[in-house]
Amino acid sequence: MAPLVPSQEELQRRRIIGINAETVTNIPSTDFPGHWPGESHGWALDQFKQNFNVEYHRNDRYEASFSLIGLDAAVANAFRRILMNEIPTLAIETVYVHDNTSVIQDEVLAQRLGLIPLTGSVEGINWMRWEQKIPGDDAPEVELTDFNTVVGQLSIECTQNFDAAKDETDARKLYHNAHVYAKHLSFGPVGRQSEFFVDDGAIRPVHPDILIAKLRPGQRIEMELHCVKGIGADHAKFSPVATASYRLLPDINILSPIIGEDAKKFAKCFPKGVIGLEPVTSQEAAKAGSGYQGHAGELKAVVKDAFNDTVSRECLRHEEFNGKVKLGRVRDHFIFNVESTGQFESDTLFLESVKVLKLKCARWKRGLSDLMA
């Protein structure tokens, strides 16, 4: 028996998640085999390939915005979670304090240093290996090699500036090195790292003007920093994204005509550009039962650009629009926004995330085949 093909309207109805004044309806995805009698919803790669689409909206170096259309929420969420938690990044992990006479406590300084985003040659960062924790008796010993550790230094002392004006109050002019910024961190290549982390590819903080500590004359900070690779799931400092989020494409459906003053008020309920006002044409006015009779020439509300809507449901608060508009979101259209902290570029980050999901599956699948044998 040939599978039933549902009508376009039915498909469209299934695609929209209803957003009402107080409730959200039609939430779970139903495209599983057995849910709709007679229809076939089994996995078909070619069908997925045909329906899946990617639309790019913005591709700045460290911020990318794109749409994935035709994907299921479970997979889109997996990509988002991996972007935040499972892409390996480099960050300061261990701080060896030789001297710290500043007012900032050692551990506070160490925590601040850990959170500074670093950047460098992407090739080098990918070449680096993970810290191999050799299980010891008490504390697991870690072998630090040029493969897995990048070494940095923070060495700074504050001294009096004898050339400052008599009545100077600004600490930065009164003293040398009163403010310790991220630009005072220096990273030198060790061993084979000289192949990658040199010149442009050298490891350096993404933002050189992050304030780390403030000093006064006589205070010194002398620390050695070790950076390793880690993932966001372990500690947030290893997350390569400032944040990665997605939203579903909003859907505004005007059921019956909204004309004249009502139309202007309707347009005000949405962000600028979402609702446009167009004059009612004489043909529409002539059509019997369309609700436009006698309103030729007046302005009617038309959905121009649902993409920029923030779905505040403001229009549902007003009585005059009761029953005239239906709000919703398109279930399988994900508008991603990926902001990188600067270590990797945003588009490479998404590709990395897809790669990580594939690698996970591959690794578990390999384990399976041994289980079966």
């Binding site: 997996a78 588009d347 590709l351 594939k358």
Partner: protein, 136 residues
């Protein structure tokens, strides 16, 4: 979440924790192991994944549910403090739970390939259009 995490109720076969020694099949694969939980049969099995959570759990569940031979598929995380994920698959007679799991992995990997391909193409096209716009 099914009942109490600590219940050792013998009638509750579905998500019994892998503390029992009977009928355990485990595999150590560079520190990652899949455990088949006790009480599983050819067509109805529960698997325990260590080190996984909602990220792979939900995506895998979706992929396995798309298989018409799968009668039931669900995943749960018994306790949020432990990084363990349980996945239960029940199939009809034409296939086994293990086969359904393997197919789920393959389908998910194919999906990733398609996403990568289309994403790269769209990104390159966008960059080209933008470069042309900037030059003109």
């Amino acid at each position: 979440m099914p009942g109490s995490v600590h219940s050792q109720d013998p009638q509750d076969q579905s998500m019994v924790d892998a503390v029992d020694q009977s009928q355990e099949e485990e595999l150590v694969l560079d520190e990652r192991r899949i455990l088949v939980l006790p009480g599983s049969s050819e067509t109805a099995a529960s698997f325990q994944f260590e080190g996984e959570g909602h990220t792979m759990g939900n995506a895998l569940r979706y992929a396995i549910m798309k298989n018409p031979a799968v009668e039931f598929c669900g995943y749960t995380i018994p306790h949020p403090s432990d990084a363990k994920m349980h996945l239960r698959i029940q199939t009809i007679e034409t296939t086994t739970a293990l086969e359904a799991l393997e197919k789920g992995f393959s389908d998910l990997m194919d999906l990733c390939d398609v996403v990568t391909e289309k994403f790269t193409a769209s990104r390159d096209q966008f960059n080209e259009e933008n470069n042309n716009k900037m030059q003109s």
